[in-house]
Amino acid sequence: MTPSPLTRVFLVDDHRLFLSGVRTELAGRVDIVGEAVDVESAVEGIRNSGPDVVLLDVHLPGGGGRAVIEAVHRTHPAVVFLALSVSDAAEDVIAVIRAGARGYVTKTIAAGELAQAVERVHDGDAVFSPRLAGFVLDAFAGDLPPGASLDPELDQITPREREVLRLLARGYTYKEIARRLQVSIKTIETHVSSVLRKLQLSSRHELTRWATDRRLV
């Protein structure tokens, strides 16, 4: 047996029905190396199977997707996470991104797009849903308050990044954005990765608030 050329993917979701649905949808497009339904088994399974990408549900019994990312990254910092959830709440999305996920997509995403998103995070790029792009635009709206002890490099997005985010929020794909702005897809990916980095490290008030406001449900 030769090693599979497909991306090795680990699925984490507490809804078995959803797990089997994703497994069927992704069959043939990626190599699914394992599944888990809670935080503890997910951390163990990921450490044992060493996947390229983990498709991670935001809501999980035992601490949520964030706990999985934090635990796995302590020992295996190279594992890449793509968050997947029905929740569109800023608190959930931002929290899991700031914990280290490389992207966020909603569960209604089509199979082809999901496989594409997996490849994209595997290649080290970021995946933004229109909703996430909207959150970022909201959070980075306006100038930095004067006198704030913020890092302008981290706490502000460039006009070009804003342009890319707006197109993402309008439902454009990377390819469409690249064509529209007459740059390469790689350039768009660089912009989005840069925004992801700011999203994870910035101390903008909205981001820190969203990242800490955990909801009950």
Partner: protein, 399 residues
């Protein structure tokens, strides 16, 4: 050194054992205080071993063991600290230090057992809420012995202090003795009071949680279960089933995140209106409408016109494009609203379309123009369609 006392103390305090050992050695060489400290600590420590044996054998909760260690640590730290203070300053003569040490050890012992009064027993007796520690401690004679020894040590410490202190002795006042005893009692009982308060709080939280759960169950029954039943009946009509599912999803989302929306500063006027548009079109046409709104503003005549125009464009996309999904994006920034309605459907050539589509397009463009805004339709066959809207806020349409 001999009995592992230093290592134990170091573990509680969280520093290197060597530091503790050095300190004890210096104290021992200095005036013998270190030696006394070591012996007293040793006398206390075997109790920990016994406790460990008990809990380990019963595979009891680690918290039990921890609190007992913690209490012993309190005793030993007080002891060590007092001895150290006594060694470096002349203000603490023997007859202050030793009573304090004895009392601290007593408190340590009692606290240790307080920790051991199993949470399980508390939970089981949660409604009875024992008024005194003794009731909570009906678990084995060992507990009794320890509490007794601790209390005796504490009282002896206080008594010793009163008896040996010349100034207080001279007063010979019963009041002070009573006061001191009450103080000792308060020290002894405060952990239980604190725990009582905490447990009451936990109980209340649990009750609130239960009420919330009941609320949620009622809601789920009224909406989600009904919709699921409807979906099952429409299983052979995927379009209808999908639109039912989408509508329920939207409703549930609104209910779940109601009042905790990320746009809490403004009363979500524009965003709510656009969500309403999406809701309506999804329900009527079975097309998914994704709405992303950045910023928000209140509705006025002109903003309402924009919402109506957006609705027209979304409806148009739902009816004619053939796409299963329509994206709506609106941004309020810099005194203006920009909105985009996009689909990946079949598209058309805006310059050469039949009357019907032209009519719709014109109605959108004219409507916006009447309110001082602009609309533009961007489309090409096979490319999908995007309608862009632009409206200056508080613009005077008559000017």
């Amino acid at each position: 050194m001999v009995a592992g006392v230093c290592a134990g103390v170091a573990r509680w305090v969280g520093i290197d054992p060597i530091v503790v050992r050095l300190a004890v050695c210096i104290l021992a060489l200095g005036n013998g205080a270190g030696l006394v400290f070591y012996l007293v600590a040793w006398a206390v420590l075997p109790e920990e071993a016994a406790t460990d044996g008990e809990t380990a054998a019963a595979a009891a909760s680690p918290s039990t063991r921890r609190s007992s260690e913690l209490a012993l640590a309190v005793g030993c730290i007080t002891l060590g600290a007092l001895l150290l203070v006594r060694w470096i300053t002349p203000f603490f003569p023997d007859h202050v230090v030793w009573p304090a040490v004895v009392a601290a050890t007593g408190i340590g012992l009692v606290l240790a057992r307080a920790g051991d009064s199993d949470r399980a027993r508390w939970r089981e007796a949660a409604t009875r809420l024992p008024g005194n520690p003794v009731e909570a401690l009906r678990g084995g004679w060992m507990v009794w012995v320890r509490v007794l020894v601790g209390a005796v040590l504490l009282i002896a410490g206080i008594g010793f202090f009163l008896a040996s202190n010349e100034a207080l002795g001279a007063v010979g006042n019963v009041g002070i003795a009573v006061l001191a005893t009450i103080l000792g009692g308060a020290l002894l009982f405060s952990p239980w009071v604190a725990r009582l308060v905490r447990q009451l709080g936990e109980e209340r939280r649990e009750r609130i949680r239960n009420e919330e759960r009941a609320d949620m169950a009622a809601h789920l029954h009224d909406s989600v279960l009904q919709t699921l039943a409807l979906i099952q009946r429409h299983a052979d009509a995927p379009q209808q089933a999908r639109s039912l599912a989408r509508r329920q999803e939207r409703e549930l989302r609104a209910w779940l995140y109601d009042g905790r929306s990320s746009r809490e500063d403004a009363p979500g006027a524009l965003a709510t209106a656009l969500d309403g548009v999406a809701d309506e079109v999804e329900a009527d046409h079975g097309v998914a409408v994704d709405v992303v709104v950045v910023g928000d503003c209140a509705l006025d005549e002109h903003v309402n016109a924009l919402v109506a125009a957006v609705r027209e464009a979304v409806l148009n996309a739902a009816r004619h494009s053939g796409a299963a999904e329509v994206s709506v994006y609106a941004e309020v920034a810099g005194g203006r609203i920009e909105a985009f309605v996009r689909d990946r459907g079949r598209g058309f050539d805006p310059a050469a379309v039949n009357g019907d589509r032209r009519g719709i397009t014109l109605s959108i463009v004219r409507r916006m123009a009447r309110h001082g805004g602009r609309a533009h339709v961007n489309s090409a066959p096979g490319e999908g369609t995007e309608v862009t809207f632009d409206l200056a806020l508080e613009a005077e349409s008559q000017s």
